[in-house]
Symmetry: C2
Subunit: 199 residues, 2 copies
Amino acid sequence: MGTTEGLRRITMTPAARRVLEAAGRLFYERGIHVVGVDLIAAEARVTKKTIYDRYGGKEQIVVEYLADRDERWRAFLARYVDAAPPASAARILAVFDASRAWSAAYGPKGCSMVNAHAEISDPAHPAYPIITGQKQWMLALFTRLAGDVTSEGAGDLGRTLMLLHEGALVAQGLGVFADPIGQARRDAETLLAAAGAYP
Amino acid sequence: MGTTEGLRRITMTPAARRVLEAAGRLFYERGIHVVGVDLIAAEARVTKKTIYDRYGGKEQIVVEYLADRDERWRAFLARYVDAAPPASAARILAVFDASRAWSAAYGPKGCSMVNAHAEISDPAHPAYPIITGQKQWMLALFTRLAGDVTSEGAGDLGRTLMLLHEGALVAQGLGVFADPIGQARRDAETLLAAAGAYP
DNA sequence: CGCTCACTATACAGATCGGTATACTTTCCG
DNA sequence: CGGAAAGTATACCGATCTGTATAGTGAGCG
């Protein structure tokens, strides 16, 4: 079901897990290119040999980092969406609730996929499909959830929700104003009311 | 009026201008950390000595790059906004028209400020205020333009427009769907109609 | 004329980059 | 018992990074 199938071929030994944890934190907070393998090794209390035994190269660490974030975000999100009544507007609002909770828990520097895309511009990079795949998946999710509560115009509504959501993540990362995800949530609510999603 | 006053102290000789042009193109297309001074020098057909004579260091090239983009974007945008009737909803829509034209002319890889923020996380970096300053300025612009066409709720409308606009730039950069800026523009139009901005 | 400024050309320094090699230890498991 | 797997420690490689040093060229100008 995931788009990350053929990419993750790492034996997740305890040391490999520490590497992924340290790399994830450093990549997200400081950026990908600026974080070296030596720093990751030191932070994970692991030798470089172990890193290269498990991952083969830095590129694969990046792939694992993004695939892991993607996987965890989808699971995190599912808990919020599934908790809301089926085919309800509340299911859409739950996405914004999940984003706010995720941001509070895992760092407010915006979306890791968007940030990674700023550094990985080459579409041939093995991590590229993970980045674009998650955004495609989010758009499909919004469109599907919108289709469950409106008789027509689900595509349009889905794209608008996508824009509000992405905009909120960026505004959150740059600290443009307070609680942008809350703002986006209220905007989505208004939008859903206008679309007749509250019967 | 600009937020970039105390930062630009470069004598813009012909060679320095070629450096800024080359660095701007490379930074935007490939990223900041991944582009070295040697590459910039080669691409600008300039020796490294000239670069360090004019800019002092790579950090200042980054500052000039972002300050220049910010300056040019504001001038570009002003032409679109000022061409629309004063205190009209068309002025707001003109922002989206400007973004679409800018993206078509200067590259579709999203917002250079957002991309730079992914690589420059340290708030003490001299380029940081340029990044956040532009977003603050955009929010103030949207809020001011919104205040010109609605009697109340300009702050709220301004923030919503900001989210739509930022979301559209990100979606454009990641290629989530076709013409996201056009989508955002239509959404803004609906929003403005609901707010009674068309008398 | 002679000075200054902008610039070229080239070589180099010191640090850091991703990645590899060698040798050793521990743990688990058939 | 014995061997494979997972790990540590350390030293190293070539390439690349930002930044500097030295020497020389050409144009503008008082």
